[in-house]
């Protein structure tokens, strides 16, 4: 199962981004293999259709779960997101490695 997490930079100790579709990078975390890859978001500065493009970018990589602090209304109402599971992260998870710590401890 793959989860997309928006991140502030492409470094391993990066903070999780507060915005989803306009984030410059995503970490795609594979819960089965317990690994992640970092990908660029070439659509982060798009004026129109950024949501639709980001959903396409991530679903192309078989991501069906989006985790973030906040997923904007516009993106939530995209028809392409209807079968994507949305995960709202709690405030105690600030960095990408915080999520990985949860996996390792459970």
């Amino acid at each position: 199962m793959k989860i997309a997490i928006p991140i502030e930079s492409d470094k391993p100790d990066t903070l999780i981004s507060t915005v989803f579709a306009r984030s410059k990078w995503f970490a795609i975390w594979d819960t089965d293999l317990k690994t992640y890859e970092i990908i660029d978001n070439p659509y982060h500065a798009d004026k129109l259709q950024v949501g639709e493009n980001v959903v396409w970018l991530l679903t192309k990589k078989n991501v069906r779960h989006f985790a973030a602090f906040e997923i904007g209304l516009k993106l939530q109402n995209e028809s392409s997101i209807r079968h994507i599971q949305l995960i709202l992260l709690p405030p105690k998870i600030k960095k990408l490695k915080d999520i990985l710590t949860f996996i390792d401890n459970n």
């Binding site: 779960h65 997923i71 904007g72 709202l88 709690p90 405030p91 999520i99 459970n106």
Partner: protein, 135 residues
């Protein structure tokens, strides 16, 4: 007898249960309760920059009702900021647009778009999950 209040539709639950002022200890009597629909009105109008007409459409209520909810929310937030009260987000007359679950272990919240059976948390795999009930 007063008319029964219609449930307001919420897109998603708040991420947190409330806020505490820094450097202050607030007793429970100083707490201000912001209910879920007031939080949603702030989220839609101030955060998502919707008009009141648009926000009322999302919440499935009339525009005047939304205005009253929004004004009540703003008053409460003003009181919290000025008087340094604790803010608790709880209660109200609401239903969620879809099912949302909360993990009691890692405190994340997630929806279930495919209506499949949910038995554990998607992040930490804990089985301590709870369906967030509407009012």
């Amino acid at each position: 007898m007063a008319r029964h209040k219609q449930n307001r539709v919420l897109q998603q639950p708040p991420r947190v249960r409330g806020f505490n002022p820094m450097g202050f200890y607030s007793s429970k009597t100083d707490s201000i309760y912001l209910n879920f629909e007031e939080f949603e009105s702030i989220r839609l109008i101030d955060y998502e920059s919707l008009t009141q007409e648009q926000a009322s459409s999302y919440m499935k209520i009339s525009r005047p009702t939304l205005t009253r909810i929004y004004e009540s929310a703003r008053k409460k937030l003003g009181k919290v900021l000025v008087e340094a009260n604790q803010l608790l987000i709880d209660g109200g007359n609401y239903i969620f647009k879809e099912n949302w679950f909360e993990c009691k272990n890692c405190e994340c919240k997630f929806n279930n778009p495919d209506n499949s059976e949910i038995t554990s948390c998607i992040i930490c795999h804990s089985k301590q999950i709870e369906l967030l009930q509407s009012s």
